[in-house]
Amino acid sequence: MTREWKPRLVAFFCNWCTYTAADLAGVSRLKYAPNVRVIRLMCSGRIDPQFILEALAKGADGVLIGGCHPNDCHYVEGNYKMLRRFQLLKRMLQDMGIEEQRVRLEWISAAEGDKVRKVVNEMTEALQALGPLGLPGRFEEWDREVEHLAATVQEKEAAGCACGAPAEPRDTEVAHV
Amino acid sequence: MEIKRTIKYQADRVRGFGREVMSVPGCEKLKDCIQCGTCSGVCPLSIYMDFTPRQVMALTREDFKNEVLASHTIWLCASCYACTVECPREIRITDIMYELKQRAIHEGVYPKRFPIPVLAQEFTTMVRQHGRVSEGLLVTKLYLKTNPIAALGMAKLGMGLMKTGRFSLKQENIKQRADLARIVATVDNESVKA
């Protein structure tokens, strides 16, 4: 860990309301935490739960979803569809050990540049308090468990088709008590 | 006729004073003042002030600490909050006045024998020692400290109050005075202000 950890927040914003609100925040020169990376979609209804999982798995510490307010969806009701998915996804993520505060759904209208600032700052702060989710690191950690296997295989391959007893469990391993 | 120089040089400012005040809880919005004068317009006591409340805001924001802390204005504020609720920029002017009063007392720059700061101090002393205020005692002490002569003028009122059972020189006390002292001492140690 040479560099200081900073929360990484991936945001999926709908084109019509929240992305525009983020543009407005820019035009108004509001200042907020630089930790957020926005991905633009036409509608929050396009947000596939896979995207959220993928973002977390690829190293996001949190995911923010921004859509139009209820009744204001540019596509009539895409935001409701996201809301419905979000309700179960939130529960499922908790069952998978991911804190509720890491995924947030906010309705932000095109006029609410300040809400973008507020929500991003709040979420950055919350993530800072939670600490890293660090899934890529965890995956690596899990995979290290079978790393010696690759080493053994390599060894054997190097030694040609040497026969012998199964690989010895390493000395460092201790019995379960 | 004496002619006084009224120009202000940059050196007359106490730099950082405004920013310091604006960093205190409740005083942040002073930054937003547009000098419209609503505060002075609604202040019932602005007619006696050497600087109008609006001017106090301007002077504070521009770091004129000495002028502000020496002004009568902050002591004339009766905390009626009219300015605070009317201010179009939502500046909590009353709280700023409190902050300035505190600073003046802290620096000892308030006008001597000016009864208002003396009242405030007597009041706090009494509360710290006894937990409650006994109005009769407080007023008596105030007059003795500031203007014993004027106290004579108030004697009639005092007598009247005594007759109607509203005036007493008995000190009210709470039971847990030790607790109260500890609370006050803890605040002293932990002062919110830097």
């Binding site: 739960p49 896979q50 296997l149 054997k156 690989a167 010895e168 460092t172 379960h176 | -």
Partner: protein, 328 residues
């Protein structure tokens, strides 16, 4: 010319996949005729050393079923990988972790503690737990280690093809053999099953309405299922729309909703996320309370949507579990 050598091996699995091989019935004779079976622990007696002694790639194809949970399974997987031209993940467990991978919701300690101490049907007053080695009559055998994580076969070694299913159907198995033996091979990494969802071959497809709007979700034990009507139209969670076909809609024909054992299509990374997305989007309620009321019918989303696929899902495992690598 000698017949191609074929191996069957099982790891963390129930044995159902082996059963499928037997289920080839007469067809198995055709297979046996064309190949030499060099390893099949469930049916024939071969030793590890026999395989070790073989030349690399000497085995034409190995069908390995079961998830990978222990160090021994890892080693066997690696060995068979080395000795085989084609390593085939056979069945849902090898392909996606299968039912054993549901254990990825718990830490190794939680699992061992339950199974060796807390399980009500247990008689283990000494609280004995598995060990890695023991002294037994002067010998000091080493035992496999129970890993922290349940893995799919391809998370341990390189895999050439996948035959899905819990268990795979005889038809698919036969088709796979035919393809292998004929040399008419699909691209590496292919799942040998149609790349289209189950509804395509489900007999109830026509009864699925085009205006479904869920007001409740029921689990199969909570209602008597109409034997002809689409399960989703009955408010029962059916994984069919998010699951590969190829099974001949066996479950839905048996009046049980699809539970997703064939895994997702090639276009989907996370089967559970996708069925969640589809089911939820079609809920009728628009307010949070109403939505949650409907969703109360899915009390265990992980167990429902990742019954076979947790190890292969994007998250793979409950993410806040520690790696108690050495059981300290």
């Amino acid at each position: 010319m000698s017949k191609p050598k074929v191996a069957f091996y099982w790891c963390a699995s129930c044995g159902g996949c082996e059963e499928t091989v037997v289920d080839l019935a007469e067809d198995i004779l055709g297979v046996v005729e064309k190949v030499d079976i060099v390893l099949w622990p469930v049916a024939m007696d071969f030793k590890y050393q026999d395989i070790e002694a073989m030349a690399d790639k000497e085995i034409f194809a190995t069908l390995l079923n079961g998830a990978i949970r222990t160090s021994e399974q890892e080693e066997m997987a690696a060995l068979l990988r080395r000795k085989s031209q084609f390593l085939i993940a056979y069945g849902a467990c090898a392909q996606m972790g299968g039912i054993p991978a549901l254990a990825n919701q718990f830490s190794r300690d939680q699992i061992l503690e339950f199974n060796y101490e807390k399980c009500p049907a247990l008689d283990n007053p000494q609280k004995t737990r598995p060990t890695l080695s023991l002294q037994d009559d002067g010998r000091n055998p080493h035992l496999p280690e129970f890993r922290n994580v349940v893995r799919t076969l391809d998370q341990v070694v390189d895999v050439d093809y996948y035959i899905p299913g819990c268990p795979p159907t005889p038809n698919l198995t036969k088709a796979a053999f035919e393809a292998l033996l004929s040399g008419n091979l699909p691209p590496k990494g292919a799942v040998i099953a149609p790349d289209i969802a189950l509804c395509d071959e489900c007999s109830r497809k026509a009864t699925k309405p085009t205006n479904v709007a869920f007001t409740e979700f029921k689990r199969p034990h909570q209602a008597l299922a109409d034997p002809d009507l689409c399960f989703l139209a009955q408010g029962m969670v059916c994984m069919g729309p998010a699951t590969r076909s190829g099974c001949g809609a066996a479950c839905t024909s048996g009046n049980m909703p699809c539970t997703g054992c064939f895994g997702p299509t090639s276009r989907v990374r996370d089967q559970g996320a996708k069925i969640l997305s589809s089911l939820c989007a079609n809920i009728e309620a628009r307010d949070e309370d109403g939505i949650n009321q409907t969703l109360a019918g899915i009390p265990d989303p992980v167990g429902t949507f990742y019954r076979y696929g947790l190890a292969k899902s994007i998250l793979r495992r409950r993410v806040d579990l520690n790696m108690t690598a050495s059981g300290k």
